[in-house]
């Protein structure tokens, strides 16, 4: 649905993107992860043709954004970190003006979306009086009008309270589940990406350092922890299976050993096994790992 091919960009001679390529499949929530200044917003800016690429191309449903901007973006809605509306106009007037740029403004459809984002009560108030959360809801409404197939989100949950973040996350996931919406979600909040995305691309210093499935990453086990006694039996098993002491009665074993083998050896030696916990790699671990690797190289 969204294909990014070999994007390159320099700002005043400084490299911002170095040949970024990845693809977002239809109906997938794809996270774009990276530090501030890693190149996430630049990538999104190029997808929206707000920033010109020095090299490479972006395709939305096989239509080139660089060659046919208006046609390519017809299927796209976008939300930014701090959406700037016309504060001196009401939310409804803002919607009319912005959505009118895409074509005809459908009142019924707009009313429906406004209700869905929970802004019905305040839609005729001036946007200048809106809270950050309300602005984000209005931004969501304008992005969903008329009916996009791809949603581009540039750090949309920044500055929202926990309740607002949860609401936003649930809303986006529902959109994917109900309407098969394709979402590119740009964030530096690992927890958000982990909770919301199906796939993730990690950018560091303008380079794509990882792309993969979020679940695969989470399932990529680091090993398992075992809590057992007595200590002398545990000690011998730790030495035999290259374990690592965590506390007096808890040890971490590497993933190349089978849990069953370690437990069998412990029980066979007369130990009582209290707990066996798999240790999984979190997205944060992966992110930090790739960040470290790339800075070392």
């Amino acid at each position: 649905m969204l294909r990014i091919e070999n994007l390159e960009k320099r700002f005043a001679g400084k490299i911002a993107l170095k040949g970024i390529s990845f693809e977002v499949k239809r109906g997938v929530i794809h996270g774009l992860l990276g530090h501030n200044g890693a190149g996430k917003s630049t990538t999104l800016g190029i997808v929206l043709a707000m920033i010109s690429a020095d090299g490479g191309e972006v395709f939305i449903d096989d239509v080139s954004v660089q060659k046919e901007q208006a046609r390519a973006l017809r299927k796209v809605g976008a939300i930014f970190e701090a959406p700037s509306f016309y504060d001196y106009m009401s939310g409804w007037e803002n919607l009319k003006v912005l959505v009118g740029l895409s074509g005809k403004f459908d009142h019924g459809q707009a009313l429906d979306i406004v209700e869905r984002v929970g802004l019905s009560d305040r839609i005729h108030s001036k946007v200048g009086a809106y809270s950050h959360g309300m602005r984000q809801r209005l931004a969501l409404a304008q992005a969903l009008l008329p009916e996009p197939e791809v949603l581009l989100l540039d750090e949309p949950t920044d500055g929202l309270d926990p309740e607002g973040i949860k609401w936003f996350r649930d809303f986006i996931v529902n959109l994917r589940n109900e309407r098969g919406m394709t979402v590119l979600f740009n964030s530096h909040l690992l927890s958000e990406v982990e909770l919301m995305c199906d796939r993730v691309s990690i950018i560091r210093e303008g380079e794509l350092v990882f792309e993969g499935d979020v679940n695969d990453l989470r399932d990529d086990r680091l090993g398992f922890k075992i809590s057992a006694e007595p200590m002398d039996v545990l000690k011998s098993v730790v030495e035999e299976f290259d374990g690592e002491w965590l506390t007096e009665s808890r040890c971490l074993f590497p993933p190349e050993h089978q849990v069953a083998n370690v437990v069998e050896r412990l029980v066979g030696a007369g130990a009582k096994v209290h707990e066996v916990t798999p240790v999984r790699r979190s997205l944060e671990d992966v992110y930090l790992e790739f960040s470290k690797e790339s800075s070392c190289s």
């Binding site: 707000m50 010109s52 700037s84 009118g100 740029l101």
Partner: protein
Amino acid sequence: MFLSQLRGELRKLFARRRTYLGYVVFIVFEVLILTLWVKVGREKVAELAERNLIPMDQLYSSLTSTYWIMGGGMFLLGSIYFALVGGDIVAKESEDGNLRMVLSRPVSRLRVLLLKYFAVIIYTVTFVIFVGITGYGMSVLALGTGGGLCVWNPNLYILSVYPGWGEGFTRLFVGACFMGLSMCVVSSLAFFFSCFKMKPAAATIMALSVFFIDFVLQNMPFLRGVKHVFITYRMENWAYLLQEEIPWARIVESYAILSGLNISLFIVGWMVFQSRDFKT
């Protein structure tokens, strides 16, 4: 679709309070100039009428005072508001981040600029007409409906008298429309600077600087021989429509030059805007 989008652009423009600043100032200006015209001007006008053998009722009339309000106020005062609105139209939205929202929609940058440019042009022309209508309305309240039109423009060597209300009114109305077209140059200049990456105030100041420098140079006695090369001279040519023998060739030439300038400013502004990156 273009028209509905233009309506949206005009809605934005006229929803902003500062758009009305010019209207308010001109109403105050009209009240002030008419008060002085009634209180102080009458004797001076009578003197002038006698010296030039012009009947008093043609010189001291609502049409003549409207001419002075428009001719006297538009160039120096009106240009400020045209530059303000023209300078804001792109640069303010860029500064506030609204343009990112606009450009995230499936619309080309050329169309966005065309909408904004048309909105500014509509504002400019309607503003001039507004000043004409309110100026005449207030003049009628102060001086009554009768009387003709007396036009005096020493810079263009024009001294014309139209004793009948009908011809005076028609001349003034057509003149006002052309004056509106002339003032579009100030708006185009401000719009042009607004397309660059600069603050809205900077775009306004740059446009006014170019306009006033041109105006000052045009009025230098030693440059009188080449005044036709100055924009402000060409802009003043609307007043030839109030001359008894209208020099059409000169008017057509001037407005062709001004139109060419407006189009060039738009095209260069668009090229600059097209090459810009919009980033947070």
